[in-house]
């Protein structure tokens, strides 16, 4: 059955809302300056920092998020509901607020930061802080994707594995995890993309120091405000970031079709 005709207008408008800004970006671009802009030292340093921190944040999210997702999926309905709401918080919270919250927790006078400071560990305004900020905002994407898959897969196959003599760890490794493989990949991609684009929490909690905490979004912001490099550089960098994000999404699509059951 086809959709009602009058829905076409809002649909096209919606598409335009997503696509037109990117078109405007491309139109404004001074192509002649692109090679210099994206091969500049600042741009390359921001790009490599972005890729490494986003990868590290994704690794953190997988290492902590997969067990968390399993816990939620196997909890009784009430507890699962509460946990799910808590985990989703960073998704609905303005990232700036997340950054302030992280400062209050890990800053020099923060809840934990104060004690860390006494033993000489200072987290804010380091590359580590970037990773923590990115993990904070990206975690929900991974947990939500994987938790749903764990819940759908259920415990049937795990019970079968137990009757075949498999320990719980073996069962987790060889049955539970592979069964959520496609969702895990989707979660990883979304998580990585979100970490790559993270700005607000990073700016507040990690600052904007070139080579240490100035990731691509921060470099774009700096360039746009005229700090050092020009606006055309900002546009070129934005396109670079969009390009990387699109590549990641395409990679996911290819992979997902491979493993589709």
């Amino acid at each position: 059955m086809s959709a009602p005709r009058w829905l076409i207008a809002p649909a096209v408008l919606g598409l335009a809302l997503v696509v037109l800004p990117l078109v405007a970006l491309v139109v404004r671009l001074d192509w002649a300056s692109v090679p210099a802009a994206i091969s500049s030292h600042e741009a390359l340093s921001a790009l490599s920092l972005s890729l490494t921190t986003a990868a590290a944040a994704t690794a953190v999210c997988v290492a902590l998020g997969v067990p968390l997702a399993l816990l939620i999926a196997r909890a009784d309905a009430r507890l699962a509901g509460v946990l799910r709401a808590v985990v989703t918080l960073p998704l609905v919270l303005p990232p700036l607020v997340g950054g302030i919250a992280l400062l209050f927790l890990l800053g020099r006078s923060g809840l934990i930061g104060a004690s860390l400071d006494t033993v000489g560990i200072r987290i804010p305004f380091t590359t580590g802080a970037v990773v923590i900020a990115q993990s904070f905002v990206a975690m929900p994407f991974l947990v939500i994707a994987v938790e749903g898959a764990f819940r759908t897969a259920g415990v049937r196959y795990e019970q079968v594995a137990a009757t075949l003599g498999a320990s719980r760890w073996t069962t987790f490794r060889r049955v539970t995890l592979p069964l959520v493989g496609p969702s895990l990949v989707a979660g990883i991609v979304l998580c990585f993309a979100r970490a790559l684009g993270e700005f607000g929490a990073t700016a507040l909690f990690a600052g904007n120091q070139e080579g240490v905490t100035r990731t691509m979004p921060l470099a774009i912001y700096t360039a746009f405000n005229g700090g050092g490099i020009g606006q055309s550089t900002a546009i070129a960098l934005s396109l670079l970031l969009v390009g990387v994000a699109i590549l990641v999404l395409l990679a996911m699509r290819g992979w997902r079709e491979d493993v589709a059951l």
């Binding site: 009757t163 075949l164 003599g165």
Partner: protein, 382 residues
């Protein structure tokens, strides 16, 4: 050799299970029972998903559960395999990898596990399909893989939970034969839970009948099915069953006042309460049911009955009468009777076709294992 014994009391929600069972080594015990009898609860206790409140479960010399000693091994350490109605093959693994899963989990190398899997797949007739994912196998093929996978883990006891119920009739028949042969060949101790009498007849060396969480009957299949002592078993055996009080000399006064003539099986020392069983095919239908019984013909039972309905049976037309009595008549004979729903008729059964036997199975007869101490058979745990 690994025999299974379980004497357990367990509960789930408001349901209570109180069962003793014994499956001798390399034999298959069939556990029969209607829905809600406690079959799945029993399986869960043996497999380790449900902890018994009292009693113990042992395989060979090993204790799997012992409520008094607070021992309760988790499923993965019991060496108890399970083949269910749903094959539940791991969807991300090929047939061969599925079968190799158990040996791999037990620490075998990948190569040797795959080799074992190959042998087992050959044995269940799936050579050439080892690389297929479950989604590309038919239901019957999947269940064969599941059987091979369960056996590959070398369980001490294999539990079969209605393993053929989801298959179509001819596939189920093939699979039933294959399973029986495979269990025989591998000398596997097994318990099959089913409400299909053909499963019990094909695989079971002995049987146990469960109802409302308790063992109500048990022993050799021939004696349990030949002398049903519950409506459930009577239905399985395809027999009419009436309960009454023995008057001696093969005469029984049924609880509804009807008089039956039959032949006694065994001594009726267990008390005057008896069952009378007869096959639907042995029942003759005589029209003009309003008349009084002709002077009680010696050796023939005559019962008043009201027609309730009929359908095509395996032995002609099966006519149902109020009170649950069944009669099988040939279609031509049925046509001649001009029966209508609500008609009063008389049913005649020859005494030679009616078995009369004690309501209580003699002690010892109920124990499915002849080698076992006779008194431990089916007495509930106190």
């Amino acid at each position: 050799m690994s025999e299974l014994t379980a004497r357990v009391r367990a509960h789930r929600g408001g349901f209570e299970l109180n069962v003793s069972l014994h499956a001798p080594a390399a034999r298959t015990l069939a556990v029969l029972g209607p829905n809600g009898a406690g079959k799945s609860t029993l399986l869960d206790v043996v497999v380790g998903r449900l902890q018994p409140d009292r009693g113990d479960v042992r395989v060979g010399g090993r204790v799997l559960s012992d409520a008094a000693a607070r021992i309760h091994l988790p499923p993965e350490r019991r060496r108890v395999g399970l083949l269910s109605q749903a094959p539940s093959l791991f969807p991300h693994l090929s047939a061969q990898e599925n079968v190799a899963f158990g040996p791999r989990a037990a620490g075998a190398s990948r190569a040797s596990a795959l080799q074992q899997a190959q042998r087992l797949l050959d044995a269940v007739g799936l050579r050439g399909l080892e690389d297929r994912r479950p989604a590309r196998l038919s239901g019957g093929q999947q269940q064969r893989v599941a059987l091979a996978r369960a056996l590959a883990a070398r369980p001490d006891v294999l539990l079969l939970d209605e393993p053929f119920a989801a298959l179509d009739v001819s596939t189920a028949a093939d699979m039933r034969m294959l399973t029986a042969e495979t269990l025989e060949r591998t000398g596997t101790t097994a318990v099959i839970v089913t409400h299909d009498v053909v499963d019990a007849l094909s695989l079971g060396h002995a049987c146990l009948v469960l109802d409302a969480g308790r063992v109500i009957d048990g022993g050799g299949l021939e004696s349990v099915l030949g002398m049903p002592r519950s409506p459930f078993v009577a239905a399985l055996a395809g027999m009419n069953l009436l309960q009454g009080v023995s008057q001696g000399n093969g005469v029984v006064h049924a609880s509804d006042g009807r008089v039956l003539h039959g032949h006694q099986i065994g001594t009726l020392s267990a008390g005057p309460h008896v069952f009378a069983a007869f096959a639907p095919a042995a029942v003759g239908i005589e029209p003009r049911g309003d008349s009084e019984p002709t002077s009680a013909e010696a050796g023939r039972t005559s019962l008043a009955a009201v027609v309730e309905g009929w359908e095509l049976g395996t032995a002609g037309i099966r006519v149902r009468f109020a009170g649950g009595v069944l009669a099988d008549v040939a279609p031509a004979e049925f046509a001649g009777l001009h029966l209508r729903r609500g008609d009063r008729v008389r049913l005649g059964v020859n005494a030679t076709d009616v078995s009369i036997y004690a309501a209580q199975r003699p002690v010892g007869d109920a124990d499915p294992s002849p080698a076992r101490a006779r008194s431990t058979g089916t007495r509930p745990l106190r």
